[in-house]
């Protein structure tokens, strides 16, 4: 898709426009200082909030992960928190579960919205209605949506919505959240339903930027629908596809509220434990804020790894 520049933002590189016009020509030192002061005064509120609630916690999280606080005394313990966290058997279960969820969410939550968007983009009617429908669940508070799934859809008896549908179709019913094998797929299903709306809308906007002539030309060359998707649609949207893949990975690796509400935390036989849930557990139940901080740093490193791969892949293509 074409990256459009907002009018007015085009500046020559290396030659920044003068700041607020008052400093044009009359560049006395006093004036410059005053202009800068005004600029920073406008910035200060947001700056303080970033410093206190974002930048400082970032540094503090890393520091905390090497410390231990006992009875108000903080000592430096080196890698202790990390070894302790990694030795915990649920650490590996949580990572395995989280990766499995991310994988399923990529297959389902990533591919489905793309094809839904392609389909919706072809329609000349009911477009607005369909767009509203797809986005509607995104607006529900996640807790509301998940209680709906937990109580009504994933009821393990045949009184549940999904089991009733399966039974009506003479298919085998499932225990859903009570069967360890189904926990992750069921969570992905609920999560996809809740979240796919934003991806569909972003894809739709990207699809509308594809020049029609490309399809025209492909068609004249005898390309069928699938080949047009493969050779026109996908290459034309690849930046957005890559970006959303990244966003999807980052979002799903933070899997938390689904296990908490759908599976009451860990789920049957730890089948729902996620890394984020483990952070929550350590930090706020086991009174182990330092271990939780170490887990957070590990998660950050893993996600930074994904980002690095993403940057490499997308940079190569341009």
């Amino acid at each position: 898709m074409a990256i459009t520049t907002v009018p007015g933002t085009t500046r020559q590189p290396g030659r920044p426009e003068p700041p607020y016009p008052s400093s044009r020509r009359r560049t006395s030192l006093g004036r410059k200082v005053r202009d800068n002061l005004t600029g920073h005064t406008f910035l200060i509120g947001a700056l303080v909030c970033f410093a206190v609630f974002s930048w400082y916690p970032m540094v503090r999280g890393i520091v905390m992960s090497f410390q231990r606080t006992r009875r108000g005394e903080t000592t430096w313990v080196g890698w202790d928190n990390y070894t302790r966290i990694i030795d915990d058997p649920s650490f590996w279960t949580a990572w395995k579960n989280t990766f499995y969820f991310t994988f399923l969410a990529l297959v389902l939550g990533y591919a489905v919205p793309f094809f839904v968007a392609i389909l919706l983009n072809e329609f000349r009617h009911a477009r607005g209605y369909l767009r509203i429908l797809v986005y509607l669940p995104v607006m529900l508070p996640p807790a509301s949506a998940l209680f709906l799934f937990k109580f009504y859809a994933y009821d393990p008896s045949e009184a549940g919505l999904f089991n009733a549908i399966l039974a009506a179709l003479h298919l085998p019913t499932s225990e859903w959240m009570q069967s360890p094998g189904m926990t992750m797929p069921a969570m992905v299903l609920a999560s996809t339903w809740m979240n796919m709306g934003s991806a569909v809308l972003i894809y739709l906007a990207a699809l509308q930027n594809i020049p029609g002539e490309l399809y025209e030309a492909a068609e004249l060359d005898g390309a069928g629908i699938w080949r047009r998707i493969r050779h026109v649609t996908i290459p034309q949207t690849r930046l957005i596809l890559a970006l959303l893949a990244m966003m999807q990975i980052v979002a799903t690796m933070q899997l938390f509220i689904e296990p908490l509400i759908l599976a009451n935390g860990a789920g049957t036989g730890d089948s729902a434990t996620s890394v984020a849930y483990l952070i929550y557990q350590h930090g706020f139940f086991q009174n182990d804020l330092n271990g939780a901080a170490a887990l957070g740093v590990i998660m950050l490193i893993v996600l930074a790894g994904f980002s690095a791969v993403y940057v490499r892949l997308t940079a190569k293509q341009d």
């Binding site: 990256i3 007015g8 933002t9 700041p19 607020y20 008052s22 800068n36 005004t38 920073h40 005064t41 910035l43 509120g45 947001a46 909030c49 970033f50 609630f53 974002s54 400082y56 916690p57 970032m58 503090r60 999280g61 905390m64 983009n121 000349r124 477009r127 369909l130 767009r131 429908l133 797809v134 607006m139 529900l140 508070p141 996640p142 807790a143 509301s144 209680f147 709906l148 009504y152 008896s157 045949e158 009184a159 549940g160 919505l161 009733a164 009506a168 339903w193 809308l201 972003i202 906007a205 930027n209 998707i229 649609t233 984020a276 952070i279 706020f284 939780a292 901080a293 957070g296 740093v297």
Partner: protein
């Protein structure tokens, strides 16, 4: 988002209007409309009507399509037992504050970065945008520790609405969105205002803000939905039953409350955001797509 249907897509207009293409098009459209309605409205219907069913009717196999003997009492119980009025008021209060804080502080910051361009402005913007890379879950523990003992001031913000309002101001996405919008306002207007002797604040107030209504609307709507949808952060920083948000309140009650009542409460909690969406869906959709595309 452009509504124009004239642009050529995957399949050409002509092909869709010809005999076989036309039949396929209309059949597919009908199937998709029905399927999407079932998939996206169906569960909501199930939720609203399910909360009207009695305990026995809920457990019955196969489930009934509509409540045979509606029990509006479930909604009344949810409202009274969970003190939903209080929970909704809290959430509304936090959402309003979040909108105000974000509008004032983020707009001022974006204006400064876009138009006043003070020294180090670009570095600051870079540091702000870098926070978009840091997943919320990574920061949850150190952020919590910071909020219970603010640096320098040593204040404890637990149960204070500021614990929700201030961290939301540190929203790089909003600042980026606003800055890009301000960037598109011609520099000449600023110069003209300066010639007329307007101060930067005056220029922001009388020139920039009136032109920025659409983007300010988008930021406000995002602020409201962010507060309404958030779960873990309010759960941590608003531990008292009196200060809870509605999502956290429902979760806290879910254990010991009949499931119909929990669902009834979930329906009530979802109404405000759904109504906001239906009213402002055009703005939300355009904000979403301009924000995420066109870098």
């Amino acid at each position: 988002m452009a509504q124009d249907s004239a642009t050529r897509t995957l399949i050409s207009q002509a092909q869709l209007e010809r005999g076989r293409g036309r039949i396929i098009y209309w059949t597919l459209l009908a199937v998709v409309v029905v399927a999407f309605t079932l998939v996206f409205i169906g569960p909501l219907y199930w939720m609203v009507t399910g909360a009207l069913k009695s305990g026995q009717e809920i457990a019955q196999t196969p489930p009934s399509l509509y409540p045979k003997d509606p029990q509006p009492q479930n909604y009344v119980d949810a409202w009274n037992n969970l003190d939903l009025a209080k929970l909704l008021f809290n959430t509304f209060y936090y959402a309003t504050g979040a909108v105000l804080f974000q509008l004032v502080l983020d707009t001022a910051a974006a204006y400064s970065l876009s138009k006043l361009r003070p020294i180090f402005g670009n570095a600051i913007l870079g540091l702000m945008l870098a926070t978009l890379m840091i997943p919320a879950m990574v920061l949850i523990v150190p952020q919590y520790v910071t909020v219970i003992d603010l640096p320098i001031l040593h204040l404890n913000l637990l149960d204070s609405p500021f614990a929700i309002w201030l961290p939301l101001v540190a929203n790089a996405f909003n600042i980026f969105l606003l800055k890009r919008f301000f960037d598109s306002i011609p520099e000449d207007l600023m110069a003209a205002a300066f010639v007329d002797g307007a101060t930067p604040l005056r220029t922001l107030w009388s020139i920039i803000l009136p032109m920025s209504r659409p983007i300010l609307g988008v930021v406000s709507i995002f602020a409201v939905t962010a507060v309404w949808k958030d779960f873990l952060w309010p759960k941590l920083v608003m531990p008292s039953p009196e200060t809870r948000t509605v999502s956290v309140g429902i979760y806290a009650f879910a254990g010991g409350t009949p499931m119909n009542v929990v669902i009834a409460a979930s329906v009530i909690a979802a109404i405000p955001t759904v109504v906001i969406f239906l009213i402002f869906q055009r703005n939300i959709m355009s904000g979403l797509t301009t924000g995420s595309l066109k870098g």
